[in-house]
Every structure is written in structure tokens, then in C-alpha cells.
């Protein structure tokens, strides 16, 4: 019988800083604490008194990798508060901004963070250029990332803290030469995306668990529009989101966790694929055929496969938009200030993201609230680690269990920069 405390001081190959404490007595797991250890930067306090037009750029700084998701979610919240209508062109440019983000962010996670686990390496850069298979993966990784980065830069100005999207529209528009170059680059990496899907389809890791999935389900697979639905068929009106997500304060973490109807739930690519795979781009559906029958899936590691499919889908939809739409300069809609509340809900790479803002008649922010995907997945993550450790502990040594836990956590693709910084905190040294 095993009795031990397992402390993973700082998890690697994840976004941000987190640690994990597991306490085992006589093969029974007594506690699992997944602790987000980023220091708070008090964004929800700092936003008070700021001009609403400056708010999205401030809140983009919550997170580097999800930056453009926070930017667009905050813009949506501000526009909803100010009753600013959305032009068709702005909608498409924002869709392209999200596609650029999904391509580069999912590729970062799937290649740099998770791929070394599959190939038994410590780091992605340890892959061997002289081995044909690894050579291909190395080149695929950086070419896909570069294509996503190029798309985000063309449309939004930068792939991190983008400068073109603003409340009321865009400040700059993609030029024809850039559009053609982007289409060329995206076409060129489509085969790499298909190879990535194959790798994650065959990946040997599985962890099956029943849970409720939740996502913003669009008419056409995008990340900005739609209705919030869970896998039990419940629909949550955006303006009432706060009544449906119950905040759980965990004394050991810098971030809050959430439940829905008293139960943990999961957001992210797996939730989206489970709830909205029939909305994928026709070309994605045609290319993947039976692969899509894997979903709905309750295997947490299929979050990786779902992300790989989203890369392909973002490539297909981006090429479609860039080839068929003309982009003309369009003036930014000017706001008329009034006392109001606005809510933004989008699908960030890691799942549903909520921004709420209350603005005064003077255009200054009074207060706001932000709920991020990792906070929503936290309880699921802890429950899974609990079960995983209990399954492994009779026959596996502690060090190997630690590696298995890290692999599972990486499948959730948590983002600690997002998860801390505004919510109630309790920093306790391990």
C-alpha cells in the first residue's frame, strides 16, 4: 500500500504558472489541489474609471497567448453596452482574427507542449531532423504556426495584443497582396494539418470520463457568435450567464472555479466539437469523413484531436473568406454614451470566455467581470487527477504517476495567465 505526498512545484509546457499537490494514503487519494500560482494583476480593479474605448486593449493584457480572444470579447461587451451594430465586413475580419489565433495557439499547444509526450521527448526542439518522421513534424509545426501568425498579423496587425480591431470596427484593412500571400500560406499547410489530425487520432493516450460539455454553438463553426448550449440540451441566455455559473472559491488557488447546476463541466475544443461538429466547414467535413464520428467523445485526450481539427477548419474557412470577400476601408462607428451594461461571450481557444462591463453616461467604466475557460475546467481537472492517481497508484511509482498527471493536465490545455489576475485568491506556499 502506498502513502505519499506528491508535489509538482511548477508544471512545465503549459501556459503560465501552476502547481499540484496530491495526498495519498494507503492507495486512497485524500486530496488533489490544482493550484494556479500566478500573481494577481487586478485587472477587474484596474478597469474601474478607465474610458470604455481603452478597455479592450487593457484587458488584452490579461493573457499573451489568448490576447486576441480577450480583445474581441471585451470589444463585444463594450459594443453591446453602447448599442453599436456590427457590419458584415467587421464580422468577417473578426472571424479571421479568431482563425489566426486558433491556428497559432492550438499549434503551440499540440506541437510544443503535447507532442513531446507522444514521442517520449523532453522538448519539441529535441526532435531529430535526421529522422524523416520527426523532421516532417518539426517543419509542419513551425509552418502551421507561421501561417496562423501571418493571418493574424495581416488582419489584426499583430498576433499578440492586436492593434487593428477596435470598438466600432477596424482601424486598418488587409491589402490584396497580403490576402493572396495568406491564402497561399494557408493552402500550403493544409497537408500538415491533416498529418497532425492523424497523429492525434492515433495517439495512445486515453482518459474516458462522463461530464457535461458547454460551448457557444454557432450557426457556422466560428468562435464569436451563437448560443450557449450544454450537452444536456440546456440553453443559457447570454445576459443570464452569471446565474448559471456558480463560483467556487478554492482556498489554495489564485483563481476561482465554476460549476453549472451544481456539477463540474468542461469547455474547450472537445466541448465545441461534441456540440457543433455538424457546423464545420463543408470542406472539413468532406475531407475528414468518418474521423468526425469519433465525436461526441468523453475521452479528455480527444481535446487534442478536436484542436487539430479546428486548425484544419480555420484554414478552410479563412481561405473561403479571403477568396470570396472584398475588404474596403470602413469608418469606425462612433459611440453614444449612456449608462449601460454589456456582455461579451466568445469561444477562446480554451473555451467559453465571458466579459461583462458596466459603463456610465460619461463613457467611463464603473466595473466589470471576467470568467475564463480554465476556471470553468478546474474542478473537472481535479476530479480527473483524483481518479487517475487512484487507478495508477497500486502499480506505478510516484515519478511515473507525476508524468501521467502532467500529460492529462496538458490535454486540458489550461491557461494560468488567464485564470488568475482578477478573481478571489488564496496564495499558500506548498
Amino acid at each position: 500500500m502506498h502513502t505519499f505526498d506528491l508535489n509538482l512545484d511548477r508544471l512545465s509546457k503549459v501556459e503560465g504558472s501552476a502547481s499540484l499537490d496530491v495526498c495519498v494514503k494507503d492507495n486512497k487519494v485524500l486530496s488533489v489541489h490544482f493550484k494556479i500560482t500566478e500573481y494577481k494583476r487586478f485587472f477587474t480593479e484596474a478597469m474601474k474609471g478607465k474610458p470604455i474605448l481603452a478597455l479592450p486593449q487593457l484587458l488584452a493584457r490579461i493573457c499573451g497567448t489568448c490576447s486576441n480572444a480577450h480583445l474581441l470579447c471585451s470589444i463585444e461587451a463594450c459594443e453591446n453596452a453602447l448599442n453599436i451594430p456590427l457590419s458584415e465586413q467587421t464580422r468577417e475580419l473578426r472571424n479571421l482574427t479568431m482563425h489566426g489565433l486558433m491556428i497559432r495557439d492550438h499549434a503551440l499547444h499540440l506541437y510544443i507542449f503535447s507532442m513531446p509526450d507522444i514521442y517520449g521527448k523532453d522538448a519539441f526542439l529535441d526532435f531529430d531532423e535526421n529522422n524523416p518522421e520527426e523532421h516532417q513534424i518539426l517543419h509542419d509545426a513551425f509552418e502551421i504556426k507561421a501561417a496562423g501568425n501571418f493571418l493574424a498579423t495581416l488582419v489584426a496587425g499583430r498576433s499578440v495584443h492586436a492593434v487593428h480591431p477596435t470598438v466600432g470596427g477596424f482601424l486598418h484593412f488587409p491589402d490584396q497582396a497580403g490576402i493572396e500571400e495568406a491564402v497561399k500560406k494557408l493552402e500550403a499547410v493544409r497537408p500538415a494539418a491533416l498529418r497532425l489530425i492523424e497523429i492525434y487520432k492515433k495517439a495512445p493516450f486515453h482518459f474516458d470520463r462522463k461530464t457535461n460539455f458547454m460551448a457557444l454553438v454557432p450557426k457556422k463553426y466560428d468562435y464569436l457568435h451563437g448560443v450557449i448550449i450544454d450537452s444536456k440540451g440546456n440553453q443559457i441566455p447570454e445576459e443570464q450567464f452569471r446565474d448559471h455559473l456558480e463560483k467556487m472559491v478554492l482556498s489554495y488557488s489564485q483563481a476561482s472555479a465554476y460549476k453549472h447546476e451544481g456539477e463540474p463541466y468542461m469547455v474547450g475544443a472537445l466541448a465545441r466539437m461534441n456540440l457543433a461538429k455538424d457546423r464545420l466547414h463543408p470542406k472539413t467535413k468532406e475531407t475528414l469523413g468518418l474521423t468526425l464520428d469519433i465525436f461526441p467523445s468523453t475521452d479528455i485526450f480527444h481535446n487534442n484531436l478536436a484542436q487539430a481539427i479546428e486548425i484544419l477548419d480555420s484554414i478552410n474557412d479563412s481561405i473561403d473568406i479571403l477568396s470570396n470577400k472584398k475588404f474596403e476601408p470602413e469608418p469606425v462607428t462612433k459611440p453614444v454614451y449612456k449608462e449601460a451594461i454589456g456582455i461579451g461571450v466568445i469561444e477562446a481557444p480554451r473555451g467559453t470566455l465571458y466579459h461583462k462591463v458596466r459603463v456610465g453616461a460619461d463613457g467611463m467604466v464603473k466595473e466589470g467581470e471576467i470568467i475564463v475557460p480554465t476556471g470553468q475546467n478546474q474542478i473537472n481537472i481535479e476530479e480527473d487527477i483524483h481518479r487517475l492517481v487512484e487507478e495508477l497508484v497500486p502499480n506505478m511509482e510516484k515519478e511515473k504517476i507525476a508524468f501521467e498527471i502532467e500529460k492529462l493536465i496538458r490535454a486540458y490545455d489550461p491557461c494560468m495567465s488567464c485564470a488568475s489576475h482578477f478573481l478571489k485568491v488564496n496564495w499558500k506556499k506548498s
Binding site: 504558472s17 490579461i62 499573451g64 529535441d126 507561421a146
Partner: protein, 162 residues
Amino acid sequence: MAETENKKIKIGWFTFSCCEDNTIVMTEVMNDHWQEWKKIFDFRHARVLKANNILDELDIAFVEGAIASEDHVNKLKEIREKSKKLVAIGACAIVGMPAGQRNYFSEEQKKEIEFLTARFAALPKVLRVSDVVKVDAEVPGCPMDPNKFLEAVNKLVSEFKS
């Protein structure tokens, strides 16, 4: 093999209080430079890239983020002691903002967050990297400018090669 490893420039990439935007930009710069970096750099300590991280002797330590706790201070001092060159990366490391926005809160706002900063043993004031250790080079921006970063990297690489 061991000899070739030894000749590589030993790199550390460290993150304190920030949004890690510079880490993301670094991984994007890598899209065009990974083959060269694979040859000349030994990433000894970079949690975003690998699990087995070693903090012994570094040639170049890149540091992003502001310094928010006593632990951060001690860690940064250790990095400085073990690194020949230390480069501060991005706005939070260089000017302390926006990670240190609580430094500029009103008295009322400070009172609201007081119990939190106290509970987490956070420093009374968020610091810049240069408030704590000597900085050899800076790459400004929020996030850092990829070209300025490459300029700084190339300059340091040529110093280590000569």
C-alpha cells in the same frame, strides 16, 4: 556530442508577473529561426519548452514580467548570479507595467485589495527587474518587438562567439 553541447550558448527563459506575451512572440520568432537556434542554443531552463530544466550556469537569461513577491526577488537574484548576461524583455520587466498597475491604484482601491496582497505575501509595490538586479540589455514593447529581440539576440550571440 557532449563537446558540441558544451559549445552551445546556454539560454534561460524566465517569466515573472505578466501575461507571457513575450514568450508567445518568442515562439513565433522561432518559426523562422528554429533551425539556427537548435544548432547554437542549449535551452537549459525554459519551462514553456521543456520539463527538465536546469539552473546552473547560463550565458544569457531572458527575463519577462514584473517582480511581485519576495520569492520572485530571490529567484531573480539567483538567475542573475548564475547568468553572464541578463536581458529584460517587454514592458512589465522594463517599466513594471501593466503588471504593476496596483502601484497606481487610489487609496480606496488599495484598501480593497489589501487583504489579498497581504495573504499572498506580495510585495507592497511591484518592482521592475532593474530595481532588483543589474540588467545588461533591454528589449522593449508590449509585447516585445520581434525585430528588436532578434537584434539583441544577434548582438549577444556575436559577443559569445568572439
